[in-house]
């Protein structure tokens, strides 16, 4: 697998799903508790979806799959995802 990108790369898709800017949101890993901006997630762009993993423990945190215009969102790996103040 190629080197992962980061959460910045899915800023558009996250905005589409949540209706607001999410790269500065604070993500908490449900596995190891690592806390940081969603922009720092290890992101793999895999057709037809994207996968976001914890940069510390590699746990699967976010899966977004879009098929025929419908996006399925799986956030079960996250303990929390809190939108941050813009530009914080």
């Amino acid at each position: 697998m190629s080197a992962p990108l980061d959460g910045n790369a899915i800023g558009g898709q996250l905005n589409e799903v949540f209706g607001t800017e999410m790269t500065a949101a604070t993500a908490v890993c449900g596995n190891c508790g690592a806390t940081g901006p969603a922009a720092e997630l290890a992101v793999y762009l895999l057709s037809p979806g994207v996968v976001g993993r914890c940069r510390q423990c590699a746990a699967l945190l976010i899966v977004l799959v879009t098929v025929r215009g419908i996006t399925c969102v799986d956030l079960r790996g996250l303990a929390a995802l809190e939108p941050g103040p813009a530009g914080s």
């Binding site: 980061d6 910045n8 558009g12 905005n15 813009a86 530009g87």
Partner: protein
Amino acid sequence: MERAAVRGRLTWQLANVVELAAETARTRTIVLEPAEPLGHRAGQHVDVRLTADDGYQAQRSYSIASAPDDEHLVLTVERLDDGEVSPYLVDDLRVGDALELRGPIGGYFVWDESLGGPLLLVGGGSGVVPLRAMLRHHRAVESRIPLRLLYSVRSLDEVIYRDELTRARPDGELDIRFTLTREQPDGWDGYARRIDRELLADVAWPVEDRPLVYVCGPTGFVETAADILVSLGHDAGRIRTERFGPT
């Protein structure tokens, strides 16, 4: 009924190509006039979507190269030979064409003057693009925040915004340094190697100045730079990163 744009919601729109300029053999700057101004912040990006005649769509993210204060929206795109979108943007797009895009996107890898500094910008290859937006914004608002840019690139021929960046002379607030990793011209007195601990220690502000750091480039470059900066004692919470790669 026209669809009202909800604040914060992203909507696709068309932007006219008003000017094109080759930066290097592989990169091209695209000057755009969107139907609705984006009102972006330095460091943000846009999604660009291409639609083929048969309806197939491909979408990629590109950093905005212009400052919020600039008249036009500017993207600089590097051609990836096996890419689906970049070869079209670099080789085939013409002035007068319309490009479908949405944005601005991102609220993490952004710099406004209110965030302070001193600023350290570290760019690898075309990772310099969003940093250039910060540089231009810094200049447009006549910021007195000390700014240093380290730009790592293989050779002088591959330096994007070469005129603009080499014209800018260190004046106390602005300090631009290059490291040419593969090929250096005769008499080159800048750095001539890949980033390492010694190089970053030399360029980064003193740890006690608590610089605000932005690192953008290919994944390996970003990881190396961020890891070294943290090991030098810089606060990981003040190092913002953006990775890109062939997608």
